[in-house]
Subunit: 191 residues, 3 copies
């Protein structure tokens, strides 16, 4: 009887062990369930694009354009081909004048003639008491959608090797000079 | 005798457990075996580069070039430094006129004077009954090689957080105006 | 007594098994400990930027600039917006004339008016007896820092699907024509 009990107990333990191993192993197999985020962060960033008259305030500038465009005014055809380099303040709320917690640095370019859409590649570079390090983003930013997902492809410092999804939404837009993006970051790989 | 048998059986079970765990554990150690893909996809995409005379058909345009180049005609030195933004239709077969299942949006630039090679960064943006979401690619595209591998670094929607390898091959090339790439995507991380 | 011993031994084995599984399982949970690298590599790469007078030696060229800049001379405001495409030799030591083991191909752009900083996106393309394949990098390169981390976001061939961190340091800088970077690569995902 005692032996049977012991065997049963042993089986249970083994079952748990196998289960634990199994579930880990599953993590590398197709069509696993969506994981829970290991970190969630919300930021805003603010872009003031150079237009020939706002050198003092501008945080970004057109650096490339198709042959029919120029580098001072965004071109026609939904700005197709206009490429913008930016260094935008990141804030915790939607106020341009709040104390920045870091900078969004990178570039985007408009990439469709028929509608307004862009491709983005940038990093959040933090240097605050809360966060040190950087988060790297790339992806298609389908500007006319209320929310759109891009990829978090890496990070350094506090965000060492992270991966996840960032959901962008345009929080404000004033003509072609100022826009503010809300960025909801869900990280699924944290160290 | 019975005890010995039980111990042996136990050892076997433990061996299997250890083996299972071990192999999973290996997944994070160097020089593990190549995994099997969890998804395999094949697409074609079609690029018609703007050359000053094809504004109606062009799906891409030169937006940057070195000082010796211009933005209408690809420059000498194997187009070194010419940067192209594109919005190309993706099809399931090699026919430009097939119904697109999405758009390849991004940029590439030629990056060697001596031979014809490029660096690419783009997304496949799907919006079909079969696929919703996007896949993000970057990498060196050594154009003179029949096939060349680039990295799948992320994705959204159906391709949430995916990673893998895309093998590019030039399926057709007509002068410096049209090219068609075949893209064999092997995904190794699927959710 | 013998039974107790056996149970103890069993417990120890199970503990080890559970520990092994546990540590693997942890690898996908938040706030895990920093892993050990599965590969460490050190390279140097050498950039000679085109300045209008060094066409023969130049390994890179300005291809885009803001409207106040040009593509022959790096612009003011800490070169904000100047974008450079490069094809730089990679060497194992800090000697420009050592036999290259591959090429660093990609681009960077300066992205801050107040200080000297850049955003980089490039690949190491190897073709040596030691390494075949490529490693892909992106990230914010805060040039004034002695060392700065960027993300390794993928790779092909020998570096299939790799991820990790690359630590850049400026090993030499001669005016605005030549710079040499040391790249310490720590890979944490190897296949």
């Amino acid at each position: 009887m005692e032996k049977v009990m012991k065997e049963k107990r042993l089986s249970s333990i083994l079952f748990i062990v196998v289960f634990l191993c199994g579930s880990t192993s599953m993590a590398h197999k197709p069509f696993r369930q969506l994981p829970q985020p290991c970190n969630h962060l919300v930021f805003y960033f603010h872009d003031v694009i150079y237009n020939g008259e706002n050198a003092g305030n501008a945080t970004s500038a057109i650096v490339a354009a198709p042959s029919w465009g120029n580098r001072t005014i965004l071109s026609g055809l939904n700005h197709f081909g206009d490429m913008v380099v930016f260094d935008d303040p990141i804030t915790l709320d939607n106020n341009l004048h709040s104390r920045p917690v870091g900078r969004a640095q990178g570039m985007f370019f408009y990439d469709k003639k028929e509608i307004f859409t862009a491709w983005v590649a940038f990093s959040f570079v933090f240097n605050s008491t809360n966060h040190k390090g950087s988060i790297d983003f790339v992806g298609a930013d389908i500007l006319m959608n209320k929310t759109r997902d891009i990829s978090v492809i890496g990070g350094t410092g506090d965000f060492f090797m992270t991966r996840g999804i960032a959901t962008l939404s345009t929080d404000a837009m004033e003509g072609e000079v100022y826009f503010r993006l809300r960025v909801d970051i869900n990280l699924y790989e944290c160290y």
